[in-house]
Structure formats: C-alpha cells, structure tokens
C-alpha cells in the first residue's frame, strides 16, 4: 500500500494504454464460438459451433448437443470456409454464447427463464430471450471474421449486432490480424490452421494484404478424414466407435478384437450425431498420437544409407491409443503419414469423394505464394514474424516442420516463428488479440457507433473496417 505511488485510477492507462469499456469479443469459427470480455486472457464462453435440431427446435452448447437420447440432427451454421451460411441460427448460437456466460440481462419470469428448466427446453428459452431484453445494450461488440468474408456477410453482421442485439458500438476485425496482435505483432505472416480452413496471409501494420491471402482445406477436419482413411485401410481395419455407444468394456491385448457391451437407443441416432461423436474420438487421437515429421526433408525423402525418413520414423517407439471400446493398437510410422499430406501433396492419403490434394494447398506452398504476393521490401520482415495460430497447429511437431520447410525454401532469409506455448493461446489466438484490441484506450475512436450505423446504414462497415 505504501509503495503504491500512482493512484489506481491512473495506473492502467499509463502503463499499457488500456481503457476498458466492458466490450465483448466474439470470435466465431467453424468448430467453436469464443466469446468473452475484452481485457481478459481467455474467452469466458467457449461453445461448440455445432448445434442440434430435433422436433423441439434447436439446441446449443456442449451440454445439450452431445445427448444421444434427444435424437438430434447435428448441423453447423458455418460453411466449409469458415463463413456464416445460416444467419438465423448463427445469430442464435452467438447469442447463446454471449448470454449463457457473459451478460446479465434482466432476469425474466423464473417460470420460463430457462434457469429452472432441464436441457430439453433450452431452445424454447432462447426464443424468449430474443423478444425480451436486448442482450448487448451495454456492451460494445468486437466481432471477428475471416479475411475472405464477403461484403454482404459483413453488413449482415453489423445489422445483427446493431438491430437485434442493440450494441452501442460495433467493430468487425479480421481474425488473422487479431491473431497477430495476440502475438504482439502488427506486421506478421499469419499461419492459421483451424478446423475447416488453413490460411496463410500477410499483415502489414494491422491491415491484411489482400493479395497475399492463401487458403486451403488442409486443416483439422481434413486431418480427421486422413485418420479415417488410415483406420479404414489399416490391417485389420480399425473400427471407429464413439463413446456414447459403449456401455462397458473389458481390457484387451494390443491388436486383439474389442470386448465391449454396447448401448442401444430406442430412438435412432442420426448419422450427423454419430459423425460429431466420432470426431471427438478423432480429436483425442490427433491430440495424443498424430505427429508431424519434423524434418529434415519430407517423410518420404531418403535419409542416409538408403533409408527413407518413414522407415526411420517406424523404427522409433510408437504410441498406443485405446478406442472407446477397448481396442488398442501401437501406432508407429502411421501417425506421421496422416499429417504429412499437409506438407507433401503426394503423401496425402486418398479421401473418398474428394479431389486429391494439390501442391498449392500445402502449408509451405501457401507460405511461398503469400510471401511472393507482397512487396519485396516486406518479405524478409514477414518471414521474421511468422505467427502460428489455430488449434490444428498444436499437432505435435507442426512448428518445427514449418521452420524446417521455410529454412529450406528461403535459405538466405531469417525465419522466426512465433507460436504461443500455451495451448489456450494457440487455440484462442484471434480472440486474445481481440481482447487486447478491445481494451485499448486508443481503440475507442474506431468503434462504429449506433448513430453512425443509423446514419450511413450497414455499408458503413465496408468503409470503416478495412
């Protein structure tokens, strides 16, 4: 107390230029929606983007959508490119993400405010919210979007924020820019590998360079499809059984068939629900087994003494993964092959119903194309500020491989990769950047106010949020 020289009202602004106006940061992605207050270090609200539909209506949130009894059809309001397709649902989903954890709107009648209801009736409650109090009347909203978002979608976003949520101020920021801010950089090359899209783009002074935008589908979901192919083609075939089907299991030896009793449900479980649950198992597999060959060279390129890197990788100790039904197996070289397609188009496993991977879609080629599309003077600077973000980059060895690929590609340039060490910082990179931006005192002049929206209409967002 005695050592405190600055008054506490002065201190924050003088130290880091922060001036918090309790803004809310909303960062919607293909697999999850992140929302929270500006100035905090992680989003308070983390909600799956998938929602369930049954005859009762729509349900949101992890608590509701993983229920096999409800007979839910699982859908996603986002397109494969991370752009909103179904605006009505997306609005409701985001509203759920914000109101369920963040804002304290005036409590409605306890009989139908949802707090006393069980989960099945949650959807009914959501409708009720819309009619009543507008959820964000006291909070400026900072929303993120992908760099390739269409102008129409952007206008839609501001309309929702202003008209249905009643925000006093709004701003739409690119998630890659925010990821760079989150890493403390205004000029950076952002490598963002999320669930549906992998993108590489250059940012100069907080503005994206549109010519440098590169994106491909070689991201988390594609990696899952690779694993599915791996399971289907391995000998013996590995069954992918989600958790909800298992009642009990008994331990078995590695490679031995599973011995488990299965649950049966009266109501038929939809395919989309099963796919969602399978995805959870695959996520576990990705987190614990999958590894990227870190280099040098590619997985299939020869090492010394006529041995390929793959053979070397196979000779290394493998990892055991146990399926929900008890089946377990040691994964050796295969755990490298599934991720290799991100770097080497020839190593990608074929996926049914999909085009083979093109050379230009690999991460390293995207970086190359992106760097080539910017001014010469910026290139070396960008390569010194590569920000890696997105959940899929947490796959073991990703940044090492990226570093190796780039040092081979640009031998004379200095490559410096900035990848957050903490898992949360990597997954929520763009949200954290938004949190920083939204809490800055100098950002207040940027907000699009409600008055400006009313004056200029929704096209104001194109003019202001560049």
């Amino acid at each position: 107390m005695a050592s405190q020289t600055l008054t506490s009202s002065m201190q924050p602004t003088d130290v880091y230029g922060g001036d918090e106006v309790s803004a809310i940061i909303l960062d919607p992605g293909f697999s999850s929606v992140r929302a929270g207050f500006a100035g905090e270090d992680t989003p308070k609200s983390f909600v799956s983007s998938y929602y369930g539909v049954n005859e009762g209506g729509q349900v949101f949130g992890d608590d509701a959508i993983h229920n096999p009894l409800a007979g839910l059809d699982i859908r996603n309001p986002m397109s494969k490119e991370g752009i909103v397709e179904d605006w009505d649902t997306a609005t409701r989903l985001w509203e759920y993400a914000i109101t369920s954890r963040l804002t304290s709107f005036k409590q409605a009648d306890p009989r139908n405010n949802g707090l006393n209801d069980d989960l099945k009736d949650l959807d009914v409650e959501m409708d009720g919210v819309e009619e009543g109090e507008k959820p964000l009347e006291e909070h400026p909203l900072l929303m993120t979007e992908t760099a390739w978002n269409s102008p129409k979608n952007r206008e839609r976003a501001i309309e929702i924020a202003m008209e249905s949520w009643g925000c006093p101020a709004f701003w739409l920021a690119r998630n890659s820019v925010l990821a760079a801010f989150g890493a403390g950089k205004a000029t950076a090359l952002v490598v963002d590998v999320g669930a549906s899209t992998a993108s590489v783009l250059a940012i100069h002074d907080g503005l994206i360079l549109k010519k440098s935008i590169q994106k491909s589908h070689l991201a988390g979901n594609w990696l899952s499809s690779q694993i599915r192919t791996l399971f289907a083609t391995s000998e013996p075939k590995v069954e992918l059984v989600p958790h909800y089907t298992i009642m009990s299991k008994t331990p078995v030896d590695a490679g031995a068939p599973a011995q488990a009793t299965y649950r049966t449900y009266e109501k038929e479980v939809t395919d989309s629900f099963r796919a969602l649950e399978e995805e959870r198992v695959l996520t576990e597999f990705k987190e614990s087994v999958v590894q990227v060959w870190t280099g040098p060279g590619r997985l299939n390129s020869p090492m010394q003494a006529g041995m390929t890197n793959l053979e070397y990788a196979k000779s290394q100790p493998g990892r055991v993964f146990e399926m929900p039904d008890g089946y377990n197996q040691m994964w050796g070289g295969e755990r490298f092959t599934v991720a290799e397609g991100m770097w080497d188009e020839r190593a990608a496993l074929p996926v049914a119903g999909e085009q083979p991977v093109q050379k230009g879609q690999t991460i390293s080629e995207m970086v190359k194309a992106s760097v080539n599309a910017v001014d010469m003077d910026l290139r070396s600077q960008l390569l010194q500020n590569i920000v890696v973000t997105g959940g899929t980059t947490l796959v073991n060895g990703f940044t090492d491989r990226l570093n190796n690929e780039l040092t081979v590609m640009y031998p004379s340039a200095r490559i410096k990769i900035q990848a957050a060490g903490l898992t949360a910082e990597r997954r929520f990179g763009s949200w954290i950047g938004g949190s920083i931006l939204g809490s800055l005192g100098t950002f207040h002049q940027m907000w699009i106010s409600k008055k400006e929206f009313e004056e200029f209409g929704s096209s104001v967002v194109e003019k202001r949020c560049k």
Partner: protein
Amino acid sequence: MTSHDVRDMLDLPGEAAPRPIKKAKLTGPRPVLKGLAREVQNLGGDNPIAIVPETTTFKKKRFGSRKPAAKWENQSFRNSAREDETLVLKHWRRKAESPAVAPGDEGTAAPNEVKLEDSTFAKYNVKVITAEYNDEQYQKHLLSEDWSRDETDYLVSMVRDYDMRWPVIWDRYEYQPPAITLDPQAAELAIVTASKPRTLEDLKARYYSVAATMMKVHKAPETMVAAEYELMEKMASFNPQQEAQRKLFAEAAFQRTREEAREEESLLIELKRILARSEKLSEERRELYARLDAPASTGNIGVFTTSQGLQQLLQQLMQADKTKKRKSLMGPDGTSPAGPSGLNQQASFDRRDSTVRGESISGPSGTNNKKGPSQGQTERRQLSAEEEILYGVRHFDRITSSGPAFRAERINKPITSKSSIQQQKMLSVLTELGIPHRLIMPTYAVGEAFDHLLTNINLLLEQRKVTEKIQSEINTILAIKKQKEEEAESKQILRQPEAVSGSGDVKVEEVEREKSAAPSINGRKRSASVMSAVSESTKRQKK
C-alpha cells in the same frame, strides 16, 4: 595500542583536550542500536554505524491506516478523436473524492452530460497530411498523360485512408474509372486506362510528384524551413526506375540458394579477415623495407678496387645516408628520392614490388606499399567541387606571403586600417551605393568582391584627392604667376617665377604618370607617396 602510547612515542604532550568529549558523544547513540551485535557495532569504531535497524511494525501500520474501500463508479466518457463524437462509452473510474459530486443519480446526471470527460487517448489520433489541390491547381500544375484527374483523386484518398502505408495501398489499389461519362470519347479513354496495372513505384512516383508540386505551390521554396525543403526535394527526386531496380536486386539477393548464401557469407568473413590483416601486413612490410634500404650491393666489387672507385663508393654511401635522413624527416614511408643511387634503388624497389604483388595477389593488400600514404589521405573527407565552394576551400600552389589568416579578419580590416576621415568617406560611398558597411553573407566570393570594391573606392578617393591637390596647385601657381607677372611688370625681373613654374610642371607630370599606373598596382601606398610628394612640393612652394 592506545593513543596514549602513540603520543608517548611521538613525544607529544599527554592527554589531549577533546578526548573526554568524544567519549561523551559515543555513549549517546550506542544504546539505540539494539538489534546489532556488539561486534558489528564495534566495526564502526568511534563513528556509529549507519545502519538503520528494521522496525517490524508493518502489521500495526496496516491496520492503523485502513480507510474505507475506495469507491468506483462507471463513468461515462466521450472521445473527441471520433468522427461521431456522440458515442458515450463507460469505464470504471475511481470516484472523485470531492464532496461536490456526492449526490444521487438524478442530481449528477445533468452536469455529467454537460462536462463529459474526454478520453485521454484522443490526443493520439494523428492523421497524415496529404496533398490537397483544387480544379484550377490541378489544371495548372498536375496534368499528366498517364494519370487522369479521377485516378489521382483516388490515389490521394487511398494515401489518406491508409496513412501512407504503401504496401497496403498497392495491395488494395483497385481503381475503377467512372462508369458513366458524359463524353463517349472520354469513356473510351477511361476504359483504355482501366486495365492499367500500377506498380508500387508508379503509385509512389505519382503521389510524390503531386505532393511536391503542391508543396511548392502552397509555399515558395525560399520560405520553407529546412525540413520542409528537404522533404520536397526528396519527393521531387524520387526515381521509380531506380527503386524498381533496387527491388529487383533485393529480390535476387532474397532468392539466393543456400550455397550462394554460404559462399557470400564466407567471402564476407574472408574480406573482413583480409582487411584486418592488411593493416598489420603493410606495417610489417614497411618495416622490412626500412631494413632493406641499405645501399645496393649488387654488381661486382671490382669497380671499387681503384681509389677513384673507392671515392665513388664513399660518395654513394654519403648520398644514401643523406636520402635516409631526408626520408626519416619525410616520414618512414616517403617516396624514394632520386639521387645518384636512385636509379639503382628504383630498380630494387620495382623488383620488390613485383615480388610483393606475386605474394599477395589474392587480397586487396596486393597493391604496392606506395599506396600507404595515399590511403592515409583518403581518410580525410573528399569534397566535391560544389562542397569546396560551399565550405570556401581553396588550394594554394604555395603559401601566400601573409601566411594563413582567418577570413573573418577581412570583414573589418579594410575599413579600420584607414584614418577616420577616410573611413567616413568610404562609408559614405558605400551608403551611396546602397551596400551595407558590414557584409551580411561574408562568403569567400562576396569577400573578394567587397575587397575589390573597397580598393576601387579607395582609388577613387585618392584620385579625387590628387586631382583636388593638383587643381589647387595649379591655382596657386597661376596665382603666383600672376603675382610675379604683376611684380615683373612693376620690377621687370623674370627669372625667379620661371624656375618655380618649371619645377611645378615636372611634379604635375610625375603625378600624371603615377595616376595612370595606379589602377594596375596596389594603388593605396603609391598614391599615398605621391600625395606626400605633392604636399611636400606644395609646402615648399608655400615657403
């Protein structure tokens, strides 16, 4: 050993007076230092140790100074940096402690709206200044074949929007010529220019030319401050070709392969090593030459067997000795002097040089050692011809008779060296010519011109004086002549006045000669002597 013993040894009188006082002092502070060990206290000797014992009363303090928790309130504020200043956001601020703002919500609402606090961050809103022009100015100064008015406007607005971040401007540059044009011909033209892709250099070149031109239009270059002028110069001299070239080079360097990069790196290291060594090498080599500078001993000894030969040898040695001495005066690395043995020595030098070259042909030190002194000189800054004029550097073939002097001395010198009347006259001439008495900008050229002018004025004054003198002399002589004639008429004696007038004629002639010579030589002294001569003659006349 006590002080008593010391005193005893040094034969000083016994007990000194201040001792008891000291003791009394010591007893004062000691008991206060409670926490310290006696040994530690003793370390300080007579002076108490400057250690403040820590007091462990923090607990008491904490509870003692507890105030009611600070009150915070969700204050509204505005931001004057916004275009729409009506947006009112709220942040948590400590409640002002003054009792005036104490009352309830209804009471404060009205005054709050009036004096809403401005954001402390509004001052950071800095905008770039971009070129501005109107139709008339555009037509007059900014017309370009390559750029339409519309596109220039677009460019300038882009520059303003993106705060001169050129990579971004280039990235977002999507100029679409206006779709509807009244004149069909113009529309066609616009369509032709539409597909024109602009490089970053094009954009920069156009904007800089516009900005530089407008700067010139708004403010005359003479009235600009240095920074403005520099900026204008920089923008005006922007060379897009050179910039593009530079980028090409940069790209080539960027896309070097690993081998090339490594090679270049190793070459750079090599170069650094060689440069570091060359200094040492040349030093060593110089030393070696000094040692080898003995008189040449080539040729057979047979020549020196005769007494004449010995004499020659002696002479040669003496010569060599002399050159050595001279050399040491000139510095250790002076050029080889030409002498009787010069030829011989030169030959040996050449030989050595060639061997040196052969040795170290790989590095930059392969150049011969005669480079040594010239290298030393190159360290001095090389001035271009313009800079030499700017700094007033002059080169003399030999040192002037007056020796080195400050140019500043010359500002006052020509006038102060004169008598006050003379000075007055010169100053009045200067005033008449409208030239200030002291130079405002005493550059070398101006100083020379001023000097020249002063000399001329001087000359003019002298000549006027001389003419006046002569005139008066003529008048006197005429008067005398008249007198004499009158006297002669009366007395009929003609000899004396004739002689006087004859001597006067000679003087006049002399003066005339001097006058014609004066402008070509330094006139001042000469004319002064003439003057004195004239005045002497007139004095004599008066006698």
